[in-house]
């Protein structure tokens, strides 16, 4: 391995490769920041360009794009309250309030540091612990996926701690929307109201744009008389170093979220969309001041942004060791590997070790380069959003939502769905329903449903088919975690009182 590593380093340190990485980073950042263009699309769009390159070079560029598009999603989440990719849903919770306070540039910097940190942790796991961790991926069968979805739903109790009932109603709305279209098992057509276009169901990204973006733009339009600019920028000196220090103080949060992100990345089918919310949930749970989450605190951004970039390395673990893509963009990378005649698996580490180690090392450098690239791009984007008057910004956002929702499946129906959901989201928001739980329901619905039906079918072999849900230790761990997560708000109130007594010497 050492030999392969030094060979890889030798291969990477050329001007050409470095320029390719930087170009990939800028490209990925831009696609990630535009709502509707996800990491998967960014990678897929650029596949044809890699055909003319050598296999290693192609992989290096795609890896850089993947890494930075996940990070780029945080820009729009922070600056205009719309997750650029589903991996940044949770970043809106604290990033946007911070930007509204006039600390947008600080929020972007926090996201940058956290993303680089998380990315590096994920890549380190990929480099050193890939084979044993890949086995974890296989332990997850249908019953485990069902319980994972259940656990995911319980996150709502901390996402919507102010009004848990409304949170769960929102989650139920999301679950119901997720059932539109062809059933994942059995292939029945459901709730399409006779429209053949609805067979494909409601695409998550389309719903995301509708629920987050449109209500925000409508609110902006509603306030245009009162506020000329969306936010004001208060320039502070030494913000770069100060923020770096602030972020690095949160080692516990950074490490926990990065490891969570890696683990969720390893599980096939799950990805950044789930990882960032799980990490947010855990950050709230561990925090001594859970009530401050959602008001624009540094911990919220750190949790989501470090976890989603850790998914990149984590998702590649089952890909390179077993040939099973961990997260959706990995499926595209898999296709590229196959087209180049490289079959993922143990063979990749023996006969093609130079390719795979060069790729992993390049991913490591790409993550580090994300820092300067992100700082420059972040400054420019932040300035643009801050300087643009609302009367230009709001139509621009709506224009981008239309392009974004069309481009995800190249389907005009998605634009209509997005606008409909947008109006629905605006009304719901006014009634006090947050888009977070709704999208969580939408993400987890298909995973939970498929797991449930598949598990029951497999259970036919047992004397009592329902026992399939309680057979494995992982199922039990997830059940216990769900119960804990669900009852946490009750504990939290009690604990908060106790902490308040001792709170004087504890620093937030």
């Amino acid at each position: 391995m050492i030999e392969a590593l030094s060979g890889a380093l030798h291969h990477i340190f050329t001007v050409k490769i470095f320029l390719m990485i930087i170009a990939g980073l800028f490209g990925g950042l831009l696609t990630g920041a535009l709502p509707g263009l996800t990491a998967t699309m960014a990678v897929a769009l650029l596949v044809p360009f890699t055909f003319t390159m050598e296999p290693t070079e192609g992989l290096i560029v795609l890896g850089a794009i993947y890494m930075s598009s996940i990070y780029g999603g945080s820009f729009s989440a922070i600056l205009v309250n719309t997750p650029g990719t589903p991996s940044s849903i949770g970043t809106t919770f604290d990033g946007y309030p911070m930007a509204k306070r006039g600390e947008g540039d600080r929020a972007v910097l926090i996201a940058t540091f956290a993303s680089v940190y998380g990315g590096i942790i994920g890549v380190l796991f990929l480099l050193f612990l890939a084979p044993p961790l890949a086995k974890v991926a296989l332990k997850f069968g249908p019953p485990e996926y069902f319980w994972m979805a259940v656990f995911g739903i319980t996150i709502i109790s901390s996402l919507a701690s102010k009004n848990i009932i409304k949170g769960f109603i929102g989650g139920a709305i999301g679950l119901l929307i997720s059932t539109i279209g062809i059933a994942p098992i059995g292939g029945d057509v459901r709730f399409t109201a006779g429209f053949s276009q609805l067979q494909g169901g409601i695409e998550l990204i389309v719903a995301l744009i509708g629920f987050f973006c449109i209500p925000e733009a409508l609110t902006m339009i509603g306030q245009r008389g009162k506020k000329f600019h969306l936010t004001e920028a208060k320039r502070k000196k030494g913000i770069f170093l100060q923020t770096f220090k602030d972020v690095m103080k949160k080692q516990g949060n950074l490490l926990r979220s990065s490891i969570l992100g890696t683990i969720v990345g390893i599980l096939p089918g799950a990805g950044g969309s789930i990882a960032n919310l799980v990490a947010y949930n855990e950050a709230v749970r561990v925090s001594k001041e859970p009530e401050k989450f959602g008001t624009g605190i540094i911990d919220g951004i750190i949790a989501t942004e470090s976890s989603n970039n850790a998914v990149v390395g984590g998702g590649m673990i089952p890909l390179v060791t077993l040939g099973i893509p961990g997260a959706p963009p990995d499926a595209v990378l898999y296709g590229v590997l196959l087209l180049q005649g490289l079959r993922p698996g143990p063979e990749l580490f023996t006969t093609h070790s130079h390719v795979i180690y060069t790729f992993i090392i390049s991913l490591f450098f790409a993550t580090i380069f994300m820092l300067p690239v992100g700082v420059i791009a972040g400054k420019v984007l932040h300035k643009t959003v801050v300087r643009l008057p609302v009367r230009f910004l709001a139509p621009l956002i709506i224009f981008l939502t239309i392009i974004g929702s069309y481009s995800i499946r190249n389907n005009i129906t998605d634009v209509y769905i997005m606008l409909t959901l947008g109006v629905l989201g605006y009304i719901l928001k006014r009634l006090g329903f947050h888009p977070g739980p709704i999208t969580l329901g939408l993400i987890l619905g298909p995973i939970g449903e498929a797991g449930f039906v598949q598990a029951l079918l497999i259970g036919e072999m047992l004397p009592n088919k329902w026992m399939i849900f309680f057979k494995s230790p992982i199922s039990w761990i997830l059940i216990i975690l769900s119960l804990l997560s669900l009852s946490w708000p009750l504990f939290a109130k009690k604990l908060a009182k106790e902490w308040k007594v001792k709170g004087d010497e504890v620093e937030g």
Partner: protein, 318 residues
């Protein structure tokens, strides 16, 4: 500014008219190749193999676009509404384009509307177990399944070549298998490796992808697959069971004949390209050479076959 927009709209108008008239010289601009599944899936991979050679033969760029959803139905219903000028072609899959309109109340298209210009490959079903499984041969599997009724067998989609194939094989081998549908061939693989299902009724391409982890027991084709030379066919072992999925390329209804002929010839030429053949066969696909007329015959034949099978299973739409 006003002048600029005037100029712009004039230009667009001119381009639109010119491209309308000049159909005779097809193709003279980029062709969009629509894939009705996810990027990175097998429909994407096969089309990507064709992309460069097609560009060379046709002399215009081929642009890949993904319109996924509904097991391909969203894309194919879009096909019926697409301008039939030959500049948008669609990847198609059998039996999907036959089975969906037969089982769904409104699939958004009819099988007859999918006008295949060429069908280029066949991916047969394969019955596979884990490499370290105690099941070594098809005979072992049949014995094991007899002892364990309701044995879970995973596969991709429902109704699909995998799901219907599991039913057909159960019938000819007189077994009671329990088909577990996954959302794609790739999604079923971890379930096998993790021991959550005992076997997969999957495609040869999957068995070719995981040679060190998967043991293919038999191939549901008339002849063995090039990528799996040691795996016998079901027919060799005495089970009359052939099933799998075909891939082709189609144009919208009403596409002029000269355009269809150009595309048919181009796909035919690409399909005889040795590098294309090698790439496809290495990945477990079996080359097929159905021109436009032969494709129609194949679709008609399979439509009768699947209609009867679905009727027997009570899956035919009312």
């Amino acid at each position: 500014m006003k002048k600029f927009f005037l100029l712009l709209s004039l230009t667009i108008f001119c381009i639109a008219t010119v491209s309308g008239i000049a159909l005779a010289k097809y193709p003279e601009k980029a062709i969009t190749y629509v894939i009705c599944f996810n990027p990175g899936g097998e429909s994407d991979i096969t089309a990507r193999i064709q992309q460069k050679p097609l560009e060379k033969v046709l002399g215009v760029p081929i642009i890949m676009v993904y319109k996924k959803g509904g097991g391909g139905a969203v894309g194919w219903s879009e096909l019926t509404r697409t301008k039939p000028d030959g500049y948008t072609i669609f990847g198609t899959n059998l039996p999907h384009i036959i089975v969906q309109p037969l089982t769904r109340k409104n699939a958004g298209y009819k099988t007859e509307q999918i006008h295949n210009v060429y069908i280029f490959e066949f991916t047969p079903n394969v019955l596979a177990v884990k490499k370290d499984s105690e099941i070594k041969t098809l005979k072992d599997f049949v014995e094991y399944a007899k002892k364990h009724p309701n044995l879970p067998v995973g596969g991709s989609g429902q109704p699909s070549a995998n799901s219907l194939g599991t039913v057909e094989f159960s019938k000819v081998a007189n077994l009671k298998l329990n088909y577990i549908s996954f959302t794609g061939s790739g999604a079923a693989v971890p379930a096998l490796f993790g021991g959550h299902v005992k076997a997969l009724m999957t495609y040869t391409s999957m068995a070719a992808r995981y040679p060190d982890k998967m043991r293919a027991l038999a191939v549901a084709a008339e002849k063995r697959a090039k990528a799996l030379p040691d795996v016998p066919t079901f027919k060799e072992l005495g089970y009359n069971y052939v099933e799998g999925a075909y891939r082709g390329a189609a144009v919208p209804p009403g596409t002029p004949e000269n355009v269809r002929k150009v595309l048919e010839k181009a796909f035919e030429k690409v399909n005889h390209d040795p590098t294309v053949i090698k790439k496809m066969e290495d990945l477990g696909f079996i080359m097929e050479y159905y021109g436009e007329a032969e494709s129609k015959k194949l679709v008609d034949k399979l439509t009768v076959y699947y209609r009867n099978l679905l009727k027997e299973l009570g899956l035919l739409k009312k």
